[in-house]
């Protein structure tokens, strides 16, 4: 059946129910498995990373499948996807897949096809020079940075996503193309605390963060919002009912209580938060999802705020590199970033990365006490001597 060319296609606005198909769900996965996968489904015996970006999976049947993993901007156009299809048609019998972290995977069943495919992929560049299909993202390195919509398509961001990810990925490119780190490092990016990217368990998380409380658009709030819902939306009770001078219904904000989560704006469009000077980037580190060796854990805030320095985010890039380089130099083989920080102690993490420790990094939200140190087991760093000096303990 051909795609329709009519303006409204096969939809009849006079009878919206006519021929309507619903609840079909996704297409079935089996038809999109290449034959070698269909034949060896559930029979894979082991795998090897042959070189960065190239995986070989070997089946009990003796069959092999070679995967070439390529980085990609998850934002892509139909023209780019068509080029992916051209490659898939030429080398992979038309099949292609995408990973959870937005990589593209081309699968072939012989070394000969693999070599030709690799060569082709490496040769493809955008006219401005960046790779279209950089090969990498396997093993103990940095793979594709998952991210959110940002200014391209979202109404709540505190920063932009695609540009920051491009800027950071350019600088971390050698880690994408090499497996030189102690373990894999998952970098993730979300442009506000809603975190549709769920970056809160990443080795390094980049997070857009607001710093100014919402402004109240008194003129329209009663018309466009359910005021009680907006009040109830605030997790710290900073929003309360108020009257405008003209006697209209509105709200007032206890600004000093605001934790800048933006939940009120999600519920009520008359309470915008975004602001050029207020908005910026928070960096978190040391989270993980895998159950390997240690339990999954949340990332911790290690840089409270950096400016939105579009388009290259030089301050963000610099801090990310500091964290990565300190980790690469000091961690043991197989040790994830958070496991390393816990082994050496967070005081040493700040010493080795050179990141500044400020009061913003000490939790004062719910359950904050769980993160305070309640032992005498600490290591001395310059920060400790500063405290001692201020306390009159040493000269």
């Amino acid at each position: 059946m051909a795609l329709s060319l009519d303006r409204l296609g096969i939809y009849d606005p006079k009878d919206p129910l006519k021929n309507r198909l619903t609840d079909l769900g996704p297409r079935h996965f089996w038809q999109y498995f290449p034959p070698v996968i269909q034949n060896n489904y559930g029979k894979w015996a082991y795998h090897e990373v042959l070189e960065t970006g190239i995986l070989m999976h070997v089946s009990e049947t003796g069959d092999k499948i070679y995967t070439v993993r390529c980085g990609a901007a998850r934002f892509m156009t139909v023209q780019h996807v068509r080029e992916i299809c051209d490659i898939a048609d030429q080398y992979c019998d038309g099949f292609v897949r995408f990973t959870t972290r937005n990589n593209i995977e081309f699968l072939v069943d012989s070394v000969e096809k693999l070599e030709a495919l690799k060569k082709d992929l490496e040769s493809r560049k955008f006219v401005s020079g960046s790779y279209k299909f950089p090969i990498g993202g396997t093993g103990a390195g940095v793979t594709n940075i998952v991210h959110t919509q940002g200014y391209i398509h979202c109404h709540t961001p505190a920063t932009d996503a695609s540009s920051m990810v491009k800027a950071v990925s350019d600088e971390l490119f050698k880690y994408f193309q090499g497996m030189t780190l102690p373990a894999k490092v998952r970098v993730s990016m979300a442009c506000c605390l809603n975190m549709c990217g769920a970056v809160h368990c990443s080795d390094i998380a980049l997070l857009g963060n607001h710093r100014k409380p919402p402004i109240v658009d008194h003129e329209v709030i009663d018309k466009v919002c359910e005021i009680p819902l907006a009040i109830a939306a605030c997790p710290v009770g900073a929003i309360s009912p108020d009257k405008t001078p003209e006697g209209g219904k509105t709200v007032k904000i206890k600004k000093e209580r605001c934790m800048f989560c933006g939940n009120c704006y999600t519920m009520c469009q008359a309470l915008p938060l975004s602001d050029k000077e207020g908005d910026g980037v928070t960096i978190l580190a040391g989270g993980k999802i895998s159950n390997r060796i240690s339990e999954p854990k949340f990332s911790k805030v290690v840089v409270p705020w950096l400016p939105n320095n579009f388009p290259r985010f030089s301050e963000v890039v610099e801090k990310v590199k500091k964290i990565l380089e300190a980790y690469a130099a000091d961690a043991n083989k197989y040790e994830r970033l958070g496991d390393w920080a816990e082994r050496i102690g967070w005081e040493k993490f700040f010493e080795k990365t050179g990141l500044e420790f400020t009061e913003h990094l000490i939790d004062d939200y719910r359950l904050a006490y769980d993160t305070w140190r309640t032992s005498t087991q600490f290591k001395y760093t310059a920060a400790a001597w500063d405290v001692s000096r201020f306390a009159g303990g040493i000269e």
Binding site: L3, T22, S128, S130, N194, P296
Partner: protein, 472 residues
């Protein structure tokens, strides 16, 4: 064929579905692209065309030029959408603020999700993106495609939309970015009739479930992640399209505790493959690893010289439960003590495999920070067999939903509700006995919420009777 679709699948042949000719698709030369400037000044974005990482700007510009070359009648929304999107993005950089308006309710008839309304707040300056709605397309499990399907989506989307998309959105959908309200229903009809393909979830719906690559290309998967994901997505189509929940609900399927789709961190109900028998050991291959004949961890650390493989340092000593030992070059695992963390299997995939008596663990309540802070999923069901038609799993899901729909407040995720009601009450409601596997430690405070029936004689006491023993 081991897995059959629930309904017969319409085969898609691009040669039959296509809109554009080869000449139309290959209309731009590199030379033209090099010299191409869009109609707006975008200096910051042009900067992002440099550097080795794939440039989304360079990609967007090739689509912008492509649209310029298409004839007027070869697209149904404005030619300039990509250029206007880039122009507005540059202004957002200049202003340090987004220029997308807050929401707007649009959708397709009979569904309460899958389409996200989006409007520019600079419609006079960027008229072609005044309406710029998102459509979430439910991806095939673990995101395998063929070019017929993708090319057909591309033609449909270039004709009826902006030609901009995400492969993929964070939850897993293939996301189509930017079309007008008028085209929403026609696109939905093309998707369902021509592509045999439905849209995904949004709002207070079941969100599009997603899964890892599973047994399609991984030796660790302990159950058929794609099949379970597909079956539940089909079975719960009503919940996916029609909001009946207090808030969003996410199902994610990881084949093993390595957790490649991060279900533990971001799904209200996380299914993680596991086993209850013993790790399978091939002792000869263990010896080969010790001898240095096989590269450890499948070669994942090859970029640096970490020295000769040392099974003690790299495996046995790193085991979190210290349940491994090497006796006369024979690897022993005390499987009763093993917590199935996957480390030894990851390091020696040729020699060690998960057990054969497989199933999954179910963990509940993960979420990102909004509203009450981020939560990791809590282990609730240690082990469950996962075989089609998965009635045991469906029964469990529905019990949890029943509790959440009944007790949950507006915009309260399952994890938050579990915290508010307490784990003991939650377990009682869904009919599970408590177990030490569900906690890290027993409670540290003695404030036990005894119930009247816990105590002999109940709570109704007589003060006069009490005073017979104790003077005032």
């Amino acid at each position: 064929m081991p897995f059959e679709p629930n309904e017969p699948q319409k085969e898609i042949k691009y040669e039959e579905t296509r809109i554009y000719t080869d000449a139309e698709l290959n209309s731009c030369s590199d030379e033209e692209l090099k010299n191409f400037k869009i109609k707006h000044q975008i200096p910051d974005l042009e900067e992002l065309e440099n550097g080795p990482w794939p440039s989304f700007v360079a990609d967007a510009k090739q689509e912008a030029l492509h649209r310029r070359k298409l004839a007027d009648e070869r697209m149904l929304i404005d030619r300039d959408v990509v250029e206007d999107m880039l122009g507005q993005l540059q202004v957002s950089f200049d202003d340090g603020e987004t220029h997308w308006k807050h929401g707007g309710i649009v959708g397709v008839f009979g569904y309460g999700g899958g389409v996200i309304g989006r409007y520019s707040d600079l419609p006079e300056r960027y008229p072609s993106i005044a309406h710029f709605h998102t459509i979430r397309v439910n991806q095939p499990a673990s995101k395998f495609y063929n070019s017929d399907l993708l090319r057909t989506i591309c033609d449909m989307w270039e004709y009826r939309g902006s030609g901009l998309m995400n492969l993929h959105g964070s939850t897993g959908d293939l996301v189509l970015l930017g079309t007008t309200t008028e085209q929403l229903e026609p696109i939905f009809f093309e998707l369902t009739h021509v592509l045999g393909q439905d849209i995904g979830g949004s709002g207070s719906n079941l969100r599009t479930p997603s899964c890892c690559i599973g047994r399609a290309r991984c030796e660790f998967a302990c159950y058929d992640t794609q099949n379970l994901c597909y079956e539940l997505t089909q079975y719960y189509q009503d919940e996916l399209h029609r909001p009946a929940f207090p808030y969003k609900f996410k199902l994610k399927f990881d084949g093993c505790p390595n957790g490649c789709v991060a279900s533990m961190a971001r799904s209200d109900m996380s299914f993680i493959g596991t086993w209850r028998d013993s790790i399978r050991i091939d002792q000869d291959t263990v010896k080969a690893y010790i001898a240095g004949d096989v590269v450890p961890n499948g070669g994942a650390h090859m970029g640096r010289d970490w020295g000769k493989f040392d099974i003690h340092k790299e495996v046995i000593d790193l085991c979190p439960t210290k349940c491994m030992s090497l006796v006369d070059d024979e690897l022993r695992i005390d499987n009763q003590e093993c917590t199935r963390c996957m480390h030894c299997i990851n390091v020696m995939p040729k020699a060690l495999k998960p057990g054969k008596d497989n199933g999954l663990s179910i963990l509940l309540g993960a979420k990102a920070p909004i509203l009450e802070g981020a939560q990791m999923a809590t282990l609730i069901v240690p082990f469950m067999k996962a075989e089609p038609p998965y009635d045991n799993i469906k029964e469990f899901i529905e019990k949890v939903w029943e509790f959440w729909i009944e007790e949950g407040k507006n915009r309260e995720r399952l994890g938050e509700l579990m915290q508010r009601t307490g784990l003991p009450k939650f377990l009682e409601t869904i009919g599970l006995p408590p177990a030490p596997q569900m906690i890290k430690t027993p409670r540290e405070n003695p404030y036990i919420l005894w119930k009247e029936e816990d105590v002999p004689g109940g709570w109704n006491r007589n003060v006069n009777e009490y005073r017979t023993r104790h003077k005032r």
